[in-house]
């Protein structure tokens, strides 16, 4: 018994530290969630304990969000932008990743690193010229500007990710296909792509979440409310004058955050493997 108590006591600092980390990371999201379900009279009453519901939870903020604001439109915009960027990214990054892993040899290595480094070129260095380019193409204030510009970071990222996966794939499979009379191109389409569907799925998920997370380009290019993606819309468009509609803002942030959080968590291991694997192997 004493040993059991001693064991538990020894674990207290450990679980205390774990609890500290969980509270530190998750509290802002708990706060986001509870705010979005609280009635306004509950939210703006300083005598209430803010950590739980003092009045029954309500859906009024969500209702307001969908009925009185452009929130649904922003969600749709984000979906369209994300889908288009995913298509463009895959079309460019799949063959590029394969080429750099298998076809280009030593020079490909350098080229791969070069492409990866462009991922490090920050939007805040490029937004001025890109905003002029976008304006000259007649895309200013349109979400299509984001479809054009987002692949500049998703292509390098996914090329690198896919390159890592292709390098880890046994080369015998393609060689067997080629020996059996398949062309190199045919082997890529018929053997490599079907076998790398998990990697492609990872690339799709991460491309999509990267487009949802992006803020700087969206802020720079788009000012008309109806064209905004959801992240920008929630962050900048739910404020009327100086008044913040915190219930609505947090409800919008919650809806946009949940799918990204789930996607990230389910693909995290593959993501790490891709980022580190591309460099190691």
């Amino acid at each position: 018994m004493r040993r059991f108590v001693g064991g538990v006591l020894r674990e207290v600092p450990f679980y205390g530290a774990v609890a500290f980390f969980v509270v530190l990371t998750a509290f802002p999201f708990y706060w986001m969630a509870i705010t979005s379900f609280k009635s306004n009279s509950d939210l703006y009453n300083l005598t209430n304990v803010p950590f739980w519901f003092n009045e029954p939870p309500t859906l009024e903020h969500f209702q307001y969000l969908f009925e009185q604001t452009l929130f649904a439109r922003w969600l749709l915009n984000s979906l369209i932008i994300g889908t288009c960027v995913v298509v463009i990214t895959l079309l460019a990054a799949l063959p590029a990743g394969y080429s750099l892993a298998r076809l280009t040899g030593r020079g490909g290595e350098t080229l791969g690193i070069g492409i990866f480094l462009t991922y490090l070129v920050p939007p805040t260095l490029l937004f001025l010229p890109l905003s002029r380019i976008v304006a000259n193409l007649g895309l200013q204030n349109s979400m299509w500007s984001l479809v054009l510009v987002y692949p500049t970071f998703t292509i390098p990222f996914c090329t690198w990710l896919l390159m890592g996966f292709f390098k880890a794939m046994p080369i015998e499979i393609e060689e067997a296909a080629i020996v059996d009379g398949c062309s190199r191109f045919g082997a890529f389409i018929k053997m490599v792509i079907p076998l790398s569907l998990p990697a492609i799925l990872t690339a799709v998920i991460f491309t999509f979440t990267l487009t949802l997370q992006e803020f700087v380009y969206a802020l720079t290019f788009i000012s008309s409310a109806a064209q905004k993606p959801v992240t920008l819309g929630v962050a900048t468009d739910l404020i009327r004058g100086d008044i913040f509609f915190w219930g609505e803002i947090m409800a919008g942030a919650l809806i946009a955050s949940v799918p990204v959080a789930i996607a990230y968590n389910s693909f995290l291991d593959r993501f790490i493997e891709g980022i580190t694997g591309g460099a190691v192997k």
Partner: protein, 310 residues
């Protein structure tokens, strides 16, 4: 169109087939779209940014007149810019240091198996996964001048008085602290993940051998594991520094550079001058001040990648 292409492929004109069968040719064809995209929309704009910075270009007067280094000279003479430069370094350094410490500590915790570890890991990843713009407004609400939950808790615990509750985003020093904390908060999950990936990649027999040879916990940690995971940690850190040094979203949303420029950073000022005020040439020049630091970091990345290949 399809009719035209079809017979060529099915007849498999020897020359066409021969070309695509060559590794280098197919390799070049495959990599071309990605290179082209990146060149057109990263390479060219970058050169354009450099040219803007030595021109007199504004959105009201889009002239390409070359003015040499005049823009840079004007910027450097502006005390506001010097403050911004200092802020940027403070902001980057402090939030990365805090993020690394939290990350190392969190990774040590998550290394040990315990019930619910997967769930805890999922929660800890959240700040890095969720779009930073959305997380920033959640923090803004937590730092609210009147309804701040942090102040409420401090008052309830009797640590401070309601009357002297801090105005987190309204006080220059506190505002800086807030943007640093939010940035560190956003990055330390990434640091945890990087540390974990590094540590799990260390072969267990190396650690076992060290244990047998009498190395204790700290010794194993700092003399064996740390040197082995250094390259991966360095790459993670470089990423963190690049994205913090050049970020404007946290500052834009939390403090809008204020109060009175106390949290203005390079990227934010570049945005204010170049986009909001339309003075493209000065904005570009301000942004380009990020370049030397970026170059140093990129060289760092290259060295680590090279070293690992050997």
């Amino acid at each position: 169109m399809a009719d035209l292409v079809e017979p060529i492929v099915s007849r498999q004109s020897p020359r066409f087939r021969f070309l695509l069968e060559r590794r280098e040719v197919l390799g070049a064809v495959f990599v071309a779209p990605a290179i082209l995209y990146v060149f057109l929309l990263v390479g060219l704009p970058f050169l354009l940014a450099v040219y803007y910075s030595v021109s007199a270009y504004t959105i009201y007067d889009p002239s390409w007149r070359f003015v040499g280094l005049a823009n840079f000279r004007q910027i450097v003479q502006n005390p506001v810019f010097l403050e911004t430069l200092g802020n940027t370094f403070l902001f980057t350094f402090a939030s990365q240091l805090l993020g690394l410490v939290l990350g190392k500590f969190g990774a040590l915790l998550l290394l040990r198996p315990f019930p619910g570890r997967k769930f805890v890991r999922a929660l800890i990843i959240l700040p890095w996964a969720v779009p930073i713009a959305l997380a920033s407004i959640a923090w803004e609400w937590m730092f609210d001048s009147l309804y701040s939950v942090i102040n409420w808790t401090l008052v309830a615990l009797g640590i401070i008085d309601r009357a002297q509750a801090p105005n987190w985003l309204g006080n220059p020093h506190l505002a800086m602290l807030c943007v640093i904390v939010v940035n560190a908060w956003r990055f330390f999950p990434f640091a945890i993940v990087i540390f974990l990936a590094g540590i799990t990649a260390v072969p267990p027999d190396v650690i076992d051998a060290a244990t047998v040879d009498g190395a204790g916990f700290w010794r194993r940690n700092y003399q064996i594991i740390m040197p082995m995971i250094l390259p991966i940690v360095a790459i993670g850190l470089i990423f963190g520094v690049v994205f913090t040094f050049t970020d404007l979203s946290v500052v834009y949303l939390l403090t809008n550079g204020g109060p009175v420029g106390a949290t203005s950073v390079l990227a934010f000022q570049g945005f204010q001058v170049g986009i909001v005020s339309g003075d493209v040439s000065h904005g570009a020049a301000i942004s380009l001040f990020m370049l030397p630091v970026l170059l140093v970091l990129v060289i760092g990345v290259l060295r680590f990648i090279r070293r690992r290949e050997i």
